[in-house]
Symmetry: D2
Subunit: 331 residues, 4 copies
C-alpha cells in the first residue's frame, strides 16, 4: 500500500504527468518549526542539473496544505503537494504493445487490468521520490541530534563516478551506482524485533524506492564470506562502541550505538538511448525498440537524498516508538 | 513488533529457554488440509544434525492449539506451539558484564531496561525461526502451484560449503553463507507499491531473520556496476518472459511472471570457540572472553528452510491481496 | 491516527480555516468510473441551506489530484482536495482563556501542547467530514449492488424534525438528532471477528464523526431490556432471512444477509447563541461566555450523508476482504 | 482480524471445545510485575457461579508461555494460554440444518465455507472473552493510577437485576443487561483523532465482545433528544473539570480529564430453554427447535469484567501513544 510507518505514517500519491505529487505525514510531533523554505535544500539535492541527469527541469515548489500553523507543526496531518509543470504531451498508447524493458509498463498495466496511467510511468515514476524527500525533511527534524552522511560512492563499478557517467552517456547508455548512508547519533535500542528489526524497517522503506536492487547493512554481502572471529565487533567503550563495525550499527535488530551503515545498489536507468531488441506484444515478434523521452543516464546521481529521506522516515518512526518505551519505563 | 502481514498475519512469541516458541497465523483461508504431520519435512530441514550444526537436539513436536477442525483450517487463527525440552540450566548473569560480541546481549538488555530474558538470547534467539518455519508450511499451502528452490550456495566465499564449514570448525571458528531462493509459478502483479513493493515486503520479512546482513534481488549489488544496455531484460514471450532475469522477477515493485530470485547473506555465527578480546563492562578493561554453550559453526546451513518460509509468508500475503483485486475487478 | 481501513484505506487531512481539506483513498480497485461531477450529489446533501444549518456557504469544488486517468480509477492512490474559500478572519486567541464548552478547544490545545490551529476548530472541525463524504462516494461505487437509506429520524426527541429545529433556533439554542442508516444487498459473511466484527469496524468509523455519542445495531440499547425469546430472530428463508431483525443484520460479528441497521445519536451543536456560564482559565472565575461565528442549530440535519459515507467506507473495506476470501476459496 | 491495537497489540486464538484459548500481548512495557496469580481476581469475576450463569465450570488456569522472566515482563510478546477442560462431547452436525437463532451458526458456517468448528460456537464462543480478561489484567497494570468501576446496572430494563434474572430463568428464558464502565484518573489528551478518537478505539474493542448491541458515551442516545444549552458541560476547574459530564469525558475524540463514562447494552443470551420456531434448512419448513447445552440466562452477569478488560486494552494503547507524544515534545 502507499503508507509506511506505525506511529509516524507517510502516505504518497501522485503521478508523473498528472496534477502533481503529494505526501501526507501523519503522527508528526506538534511544535516543530516548518515552512515551505525548509524543503529547498533537499529538493536541490534531488534536482536534475549535473551531467547525466534528465533535462526535465521543474521548479518543484512545495505547497503546505495542512498541519502547520504560524510556522509550526500542529500534530494534525501534514500534507504537502508539488504541482507538475513541465509535462510534455506524448502518445503513450504504444507502451501497451511494446512495454519498455526494465520499466513497469508491463507489470503496471497488468496490475491495473489495463487502467493504469501510462504517461511517464504514472504512479510508478521516479517522480514520486520527490514526495519522499519532502517527508524526509520533516523526519530529520524529528530525529534531533542525528547526523546523516549519504553519498554515491560508486557508479558502474568505479569510484570515479563522473567518468563512469560520462562514458555511459557517450555510449547512449546508462549506468548503476552504489549509495552509502551513514547515520550517527542514534540511541541504543531502536528497532522492534522480531519482525520490525531496524534492518527490516529500513530495508522495507528503501526497497520501495524505484531501481533499488540490494540493501546491505555493515559487512553486507561480504558477511557470507567471513569468519566469525573477524566479523564479531569487539566492544571497546562502555557506551557499546566497538572496534570495528561489521554489524553496521545493529545487533539483534536493534541499534547498538555505533553508526548505522547501510548501502543501496541502484540499477542503471532503464531508459537508454541505444536501440534495444524486445518483444512487440501485438506482432508477437522480436523487434527493435527506441525509448523516447528525457531521462537520467545515472539515476543514482540524484538518489542519495532520496535514500537519506527514506532511511530518516524509517528511523523517525522507530525513534518515536523508543521514546514511548522510555517514557513508559520511567513512569 | 512481532506481527507481519496485512491480510495473512503471522505473530511470533517465545524464548530460547522458556516454555517454548509459538506462532499465531491469522487470516489463513478456510479449508486447507493441515495436520501436525505436515510440519515434519520442513522441521527436518531446519533440524541440527549435519557437521557444523549445534549439538542441541530437540524433538520439536508442534502442537496445533487452534484453527483446525477435522484436519482442515477453519479460517480462525491458527496457533502452533513447540515446547522447549532440551534446555540446560546455566548462569547467564555474566552476560550483563561481558555481553558477547555479535550477539544481542548488549542491545537486548538496553532495550528492556535490564528486564530481558538473557537465557540463550531469550526472544532474540535463532530458536524463534522455528516458528517461522511452522508458519511457512501453511503459507506454502496458500501459494498453490508455486514452487520454491532454496539453497545454501556458498559458505565462507566458497561454493564448497562442506570444506568451508569443516575448516572453520577445525579452527574453533564460524563462517557465513549465501542463500539463494528461487520462486517459480507466481502470477504477474504481486506487490503493492509504492511502499509495499514485493521487494519491500520480502526484504522486511527476511531482515527479521537473525544474522541476515544483505538482501539482493536479481542482479543485486552487481547492478551498481552494470550498464542499462546489459541490465535491461528484453521480453521474449507474451506472458512477460524475458531473455535474462537481472530484474529478479520484479519490475516496478511487482512480480513480472519470471522467477523471483532473491539472495540472502548470512553472517558467521557470533558464538565461536576461539578466545575473543572484548570489553568487560564491570572492570572497564579489555579482557579475554570465552563463549560457552552449544552452537552452529555455520548457521547458514540450517537457514535455507527459514529463508524459504519467510519468503513464502511475505508472498502469501501479497497473493491473497492480488486475489482480492482480481475478484474486485471481476477477473 | 488519520487513516482508516485495512485494504481500502482512507486518510484525511486539512483544517477549517487552512488551505482546505483533502482525502487520500488507497487500495481503490482499478477501473471504476469517476469524475469530479460524481461528488456533486452527496456534497449537496451535506451542504448547508435548510433552516437550522450554518450560513457559511462554500462552493466545495473537489479537485481530483491523482489516481484517475481518462475517467477511471487506476488503482493508484486517489487524492481529492477541496479548497477553503469562505474563511472569515477572526481572533481565536481568546479560546485559550475561555475554551468553549462542548468543543475541542481545551482538549485540542492540550493534545498539541499549545501548537494546535485554533481557527474554527482546526483539524477538529466538522468541515473534515467533507472529506469523508468524498471518500464515501467512491466507497459506494465499490459496493456494487448495495443500497443505502440514511435519514434523520428524530431531533430533540421528536419525529417532527422541522419543528424541533425551528424551536431550538428561536430559543438561540441547538438540538441533537438520531440518524438511522439501513443497508440492503450486503452478502452474508462481511466482518472479520474477533476484533474486526462488522459492528466494530462500522462503529470505529462512526465514532470518528464529530458529535456522535452513541452507536446502536438492531435492537441496540433496547436489547438490554429484552428477553431472549423475543430478541432471537427466527429464520424464515433459506438465504438467512429472519422474521424480525433485532440483530440489525449481524450475528457473530458477521453480516447475516438481512439489512444492516445502525443508528447514530448526534449531540446538539455545541455552539449556541445563548449566553453560557463557564470558567475563564485566565481569571479563574466562572464568567459568562458568548460564542460567535456561523453555526448549525442542528448539525444532525447535514449528517446523514456523512454517516452514510462513513458506513460505506467501513463496509467497502470488509467487502474487499470478503471478495479475497471467496477468491482464495475458489468460490 | 484477531489483533487489536497500534503499539500495545492483543491477538486472540482458540475455540470453545478445542485445546483452549490463548492471547498474545505484544508491545507490553518491560519490567511490569506479573505472575500467573495476578489473573485470579479478574478470572473470578468472569467465572460462572451466581444464579443465572452457566453450569459449565472450569478451573481456567492460565499458563504464561512467554514474555516473563523472574516475575517481570521482558517486553517480548506475552503469551498466555488456558486449556479447555470441561468439554462435553456432543453432536453439532444438526447445526448445519437448523442454525440456532441469535447465534453465529449460520454466519460462521457461511464465512468459513462450511469449514468452521461448530462445537460450542468454535471461535465465536463467548469463551474467547477469557483471553480478553487475561490481557485486560496486564492492560490495567500499564494504566498506572487509573481506576475502573464497571457494573451491571440493569437487566431486563430493571435495576433489580437479581429478580429480572430469576424471572427469566423461571420462564426458561434469558434477559439482556446494561453495563456501565467509569474510568477515573486518565490524563487529558488520550485519543488519536480523526479516526482513532477515544470513542472509536474503545467502541471498536467493545463491539468485538459477543452480544454487545450498543455503545454509548456520556449522554449517549439521550443526546439526540437534548438541547445544546443543557448538553454543554461548563468548565468549573482549571484542570478541565466540568459541572456535568454529558460528554462522558471526551471532547473532540480526546479525553478531557473528567471520568470516561461508557455504557454497553448486552443482548439476552441467544440460547434459551423455551421451544423456538425457526427454519429447518434441510426440510425447508418452519419447525420447532430446542437448544441444548449449558448456558447463562443473563450473559451480562459475567460481562462487566470483560467490558472493563476491553476498555482497558483500548485505553492502554492510547496511553502509550500519549506518553510517546509527551516524550517527543519534552525532548
Amino acid at each position: 500500500m502507499n503508507t509506511l510507518g506505525r506511529v509516524l505514517r507517510v502516505s504518497l500519491f501522485g503521478e508523473s504527468h498528472g496534477a502533481g505529487v503529494g505526501v501526507v505525514l501523519d503522527g508528526c510531533p506538534a511544535g516543530l518549526e516548518l515552512t515551505e523554505a525548509d524543503f529547498a535544500a533537499d529538493l536541490d539535492r534531488r534536482r536534475a542539473g549535473a551531467e547525466g541527469t534528465t533535462p526535465r527541469h521543474e521548479p518543484d515548489e512545495p505547497a503546505l496544505l495542512s498541519g502547520v500553523f504560524q510556522g509550526r507543526t500542529t500534530g494534525a496531518p501534514l500534507a504537502v503537494h508539488v504541482a507538475n509543470t513541465n509535462v510534455r504531451s506524448a502518445d503513450y498508447a504504444h507502451l501497451a504493445a511494446t512495454p519498455r524493458p526494465g520499466h513497469a509498463d508491463f507489470t503496471g498495466r497488468a496490475k491495473a487490468f489495463g487502467f493504469n496511467d501510462p504517461r511517464g510511468g504514472g504512479h510508478f515514476s521516479g517522480r514520486l521520490t520527490l514526495a519522499l524527500v519532502l517527508a524526509g525533511v520533516v523526519a530529520k527534524k524529528v530525529l534531533a541530534g542525528v547526523r546523516f552522511d549519504t553519498r554515491l560512492i560508486e557508479a558502474g563499478g568505479s569510484a570515479d563516478v563522473e567518468s563512469a557517467v560520462r562514458e555511459a552517456l557517450a555510449a547512449g547508455d546508462s549506468v548503476g551506482g552504489l549509495i552509502a548512508c551513514r547515520v550517527e547519533g542514534l540511541p541504543v535500542g531502536l528497532g522492534e524485533p522480531f519482525f520490525d528489526s531496524v534492518e527490516s524497517v529500513v530495508a522495507h522503506a528503501l526497497f520501495s524506492v524505484p531501481a533499488v536492487k540490494a540493501v546491505e547493512f555493515g559487512s553486507g554481502v561480504a558477511a557470507a564470506s567471513m569468519r566469525g572471529s573477524r566479523h564479531n565487533d569487539p566492544f571497546v567503550g562502555p557506551d557499546g562502541r566497538t572496534a570495528t563495525n561489521h554489524a553496521g550499527g545493529v545487533n539483534g535488530g536493534l541499534t547498538n550505538g555505533n553508526p548505522l551503515e547501510v548501502r543501496v545498489a541502484v540499477k542503471p536507468t532503464s531508459s537508454i538511448g541505444q536501440l534495444q531488441q524486445t518483444l512487440n506484444f501485438d506482432s508477437g515478434r522480436i523487434e527493435p525498440l527506441t525509448v523516447r523521452g528525457r531521462h537520467d543516464a545515472c539515476i543514482a546521481l540524484r538518489a542519495p537524498v532520496v535514500v537519506e529521506a527514506t532511511v530518516a522516515l524509517a528511523l523517525a518512526d522507530l525513534w518515536l516508538l523508543r521514546r514511548m518505551q522510555e517514557a513508559a519505563h520511567g513512569a
